[in-house]
Every structure is written in C-alpha cells, then in structure tokens.
C-alpha cells in the first residue's frame, strides 16, 4: 500500500501520458496541459511546507541565539511582510479584487525597489566570475585544455574589434582565416557538432531514465519501504 500504490500511479500516469501524445482525440490531447496545471496547484500547496520550513529554521535560529541570528529576524520580517503585502493586497489601488502586482501597491513597490535591484546585482556578479573562471580554466595544461583554450580565445577575439584588426591583412582566399570568420566557423561547425552529440545523448538519457522510473526500476525518490 505504501509503496505499491505510488509505483502503480507512476506507471499508469507515465505510460498514459506517453501514449496520449499520439492520440489527438479528446480527452487525451490535453493531458499534458492538464498535468502542468495540476502540478502548479500541487506546488502551491507544497509552499506551506517550504514556507513553514523557512519560518521554523529562522525562528529556531533566533530562539537559540545561534550565530548570525539577527539576520534571521531580517529574513522573517521580509518574508512575512512581503507575504502580508501580497496576500492582503495592502495598498492596492483596486483593493482585494485588484491584480496582486498592481502599480502602486505595497507588493509592487517592494518588488520594484528591493527585489529587482537585488536580483540584478546578483546576476551581475556573473561578470566578475566569468573573468576569474576564464583566467583559471583557459590554460594550456594538456591537449584537451588547449583545445578548450583555443576555441574560447578565437571566439573572444572574434567578438571584439581587435580580432578583425589583427587579421585584416588576410584577404582573398585567406579571408576565411580572419578571426571573426574563424569564430563564426567554430560556432557553426565544430561547436554545432558537439552540441548535437550532447543533445542526442541527453535524449537517450532521458528516455532511459523515464523508463526506469515508469517501470519502477528506479524508486529511491519514494522513500523507504515501511514506515
């Protein structure tokens, strides 16, 4: 009961959804869409578990005065404040009927003035990390690493004016050696080939993984046998 029923559910749902792909007739044609709707709804219920966990972790931290506990208060205030602003639609020009992110509501203000700059700044850290990662990774330590380096270097050069400038002397039949052309060629030929191999491999990996799940060969995610 505790494990057989779930395995059965997985099997039936998985198999039906695969077959439904080939049956356009109602109701099968919509199964995929229906599922994503169901999933969204289940996920919202699950938020109670996640959100509850977030509160519990930080309340415990504050209670036990663990390291950095004052920051937990900040998290809790931010979380509960944002939640209240959103669920009660505080300051929403259209009241509780209005769109939750309506311009002028507290929820939208918090989003615009706090959420957005944080998100953009965190994203922007990538510029730094791209720098430090290329410094370390692109070194000709062995053959593989050298190939990685050369490909990256040509592409990097090809996207700046230097690339053209360096090799503008190569004209006529040698013009394909100009770095921007070379960069385009790398993107369009060997890069494409590698991408294809990766993608076909992924397709096979997913198919095999899906079958293992549907057939119940892989069942670790269901937890233990008897509880």
């Amino acid at each position: 009961m505790k494990r057989t029923v779930p395995l059965l559910i997985t099997f039936i749902v998985g198999a039906v959804l695969i077959l439904a792909e080939f049956v356009p007739h109602e109701p099968f044609g919509n199964f995929g869409e229906d599922f994503s709707l169901y999933f969204d709804i289940i996920a919202v219920f699950a938020f109670l578990l996640g959100g509850g966990n977030l509160i519990r972790v930080h309340v415990t931290k504050v209670q036990r005065k663990k390291k950095d506990w004052p920051f937990s208060i900040v998290t809790l205030v931010g979380f509960l404040g944002m939640l209240a602003a959103g669920l009660l639609k505080i300051g929403n020009p259209d009241g509780i009927q209005g769109d939750v992110a309506k311009l002028g509501s507290l929820f939208n203000d918090l989003y615009m003035f706090i959420f957005t700059p944080l998100q953009a700044s965190m994203f922007a850290l990538l510029a730094f990390f791209v720098g430090s990662a290329s410094y370390r990774a692109f070194r000709a330590k062995n053959l593989d690493a050298t190939i990685l380096l050369v490909a990256a270097f040509v592409i990097l050069l090809g996207r700046t004016p230097f690339g053209l400038w360096l090799t503008s002397g190569l004209e006529g039949s040698l013009s394909f050696l100009q770095i921007p052309n070379l960069a385009n060629w790398i993107m369009g030929v060997p890069n494409l080939a590698g991408q294809r191999a990766i993608m076909i491999g992924i397709a096979l990996g997913v198919i095999s993984m899906s079958l293992r799940l549907i057939l119940g060969v892989e069942r670790t995610y269901l937890g233990q046998d008897n509880e």
Binding site: V23, H25, M122, F129, L204, R212
Partner: protein, 420 residues
Amino acid sequence: MELLRSRIIIGITLLSMVLMFGSALAQDADKRDVLDSTAVRVGTFKKPVNLPIPAQLDVVEDSEGDAGSSITVSWLPSPDDGAGKNNVIEYQILRSESQDGEYVIVGSASRGMTQFQDATTTDGVTYFYYVRTISKDGGANSQISAGIQSSPQWFNTKDLDTFIIGLIICAAVIYFIYHAQKGKKFFLRQIAGLEAVDEAIGRATEMGRSILFIPGINDMDDVQTVAGITILGRVAKTIAEYDTKINMPVSRSIVMTTARETIKQAYVAAGRPDAYSDDMVHYLTDEQFGYVAAVDGIMVREKPATCFYLGAFFAESLIMAETGNSIGAIQIAGTAMPAQLPFFVAACDYTLIGEELFAASAYLSGEPKQLGSLKGQDVGKIIAMIVILGLCGLYTVASISDSVSLLDFADKIKGLFSAS
C-alpha cells in the same frame, strides 16, 4: 556471447529500419488516397485584365491527426505568384456553411504559400471554401470546394515515425533490463566524476566538514531534478555510512519533501535511521538569484569540503561553482543544460555531461537492472549513428551521381525524422 549480443543489436537495428521504411511507405499511400478522392472540382477560368490568374484549389480536407476543429486548405499557386506586375500579394481563404451562402474571410497566407489551416471550424458542420488571389489590382477567386467537415482523430498519423522510433528504443532498453535481471553481466566503462564520489565524501569526513548538495533550481517536473534526487539516494547512503554531515538547501518545496524521503531511506538502508534529521534539507526561496545569494553565503560560512551540483541549472551555475572553487571544495557537477555545461567544466573538478547525469544513479546503484538500461541506451546511439552515417552517405552518392530516384529514396527515409 559477444557474437550473440552484436547479432541482437544488428537485429534490432535492421528491424527498426524495416519498420521505419514501412511507415514511410504507409504514409505515402495515405497521401495518394487523399489525392484520388480529391474533394475539389476544378474548372477553367477566363483571366480578366489586370487581375492575377487565380490559384487553383488543390486539396481541402480535415486536418490530419488532430483534435478536430480544423480543416486544411491547400492550393496550387497562381502563375503570377512571385513575379511580374500582377505579382500576388497574398491569398485569402474564404468560407461559408452553404455553397451559395455568404463567404467570409477566415484567414490569409502570404505569397509563396500554398496551404492554410482553418482552425476555427466546428466539428460536424459542413463548410465550403475558396481561395482568393490578391494582387494590387484586386482579387481573383478559385473554384468553390465541395462540402467538408472536420473531426478529431484517434491516432496522430503524422507522428507515427516518432512513435516507432520511441518504441524501438524502449524495446532495446527493456530488453537489456530484462536480461540484466536474469543475471547477465555487462561491461560498463568508468566515468571519472562517479569514481570520485566516494573519495569526495571521504575527504569531507576526514576534514570534519559538511557536504553541500544542490539539486538544481527546477522543480520535480523536470527530469533533471529527478535524476539529481536519484543520485542523492546513492550518495546519501555513503554519507550515512561515513557519518558525514550533509547540507541540502533547496529552492522548491516539493523537492524538499522528496529529498527528505530519499535521504531518510538512505539512512535507514545504511542502518543508521537515528542519525537522520529533517534539518538536513531546508527550503530557501523559489527565486533563482535569491537562492544563489543564500547558497553562496552558506558556502563561505560553512566551508563544505565537497559540493555536488546535480540537476537543472541556469545562469546561477557559475556563481555557485566559482564561489565553491574559492573555498577549495571538491566540486562534482552534472546537468543536461547545454548552455551551463561550459561553466561547470571550467570551474568544477568533475562534470557529468548531459547523458552521464541520467546514467549516474544507475552506475552508482550497481543494480543489474539499472545497468541494463544503460546498455539499451547504447543501442539508441548505434541507431542514431547508423542513420546519420548511412543517410549522409546515401545523399552524397545521390548528389554526386545526380540520381533522382536515389535522392527520392533518401528523402523518404529522412522524412521519418521530420518529427513535428
């Protein structure tokens, strides 16, 4: 034994070729039927001055392999299409519920096109169509089609080839799972990232530091996350045996629930159920960059000795991997997001590339059934390789010898892979 196996593989491959070719022929036969029963009356036209020569209706039929509510109208292009001062601007498609009734425009198609799908029909209602060819001077009408109805189909014939290809790969995977179960042993090559798992956990144990496990930032409706969780199941067992600490911040509530079940089972299986605690897995936020901000914080403060990144990743991959690198952790990553693989390769010690991520849990489990499925995957690869090489060769021969019949033959087989 080796001989038998290769024979089976060749057998499956040949069978697949036969099946695919058969389905191509079947599809072709279908098309012929339609042409024979063309529901169109074709007449002759007088060309008025300055108006374009009208397009002629070709086939008007219920759209194939759909859920109904759609009729496909196709036409032979007007001779004025594409050139001249009467050049066609567009084709308008008009519809009525009775032959002599009022016709209304249901859509238009730009010049050069010869087909239109009217997806606004009601099943069971009879419609009549004609096509109006528009040039700058006005429009010229085609004949009116015979009455036609739309209806839903039970099988999508357009996807028959996909169905068969899927079936063959499934058959191969199931065949090898079955044989593995019977006790047949398969050779499997080593994957460096997986060989390193035990060592990485051992290192954390020796250093008395924790292990960080990141299952990506997608929810359980992404098979990559599921793959990450199944690997967690194996890794957690070793962690339980070594009595190492695991810290698993997640960005999805359902992943949290699933990960807890998985780790708990691993601890029970390792005979140490008491050592398990729900606190090993904790939820942070669904927001991609909020999650990374917190994970980065955890990394620099807790300094885990080992970091696993296994699942679906986006731009945050490099932020985490670089921070992990800066604290000197051993990093094992795996994802099927092609855009993020380069960053993991650059910043991590080991990276499971695409397919290897999905194979990892099978590898680590060591269960014959699971390993068998990997052998089945390889059959899929053989098919892909044979198809690619064979058809490219065929095309090349066809184009060098300029043989139309050979080209047609190659097109037909290639058409099997034109999945919609």
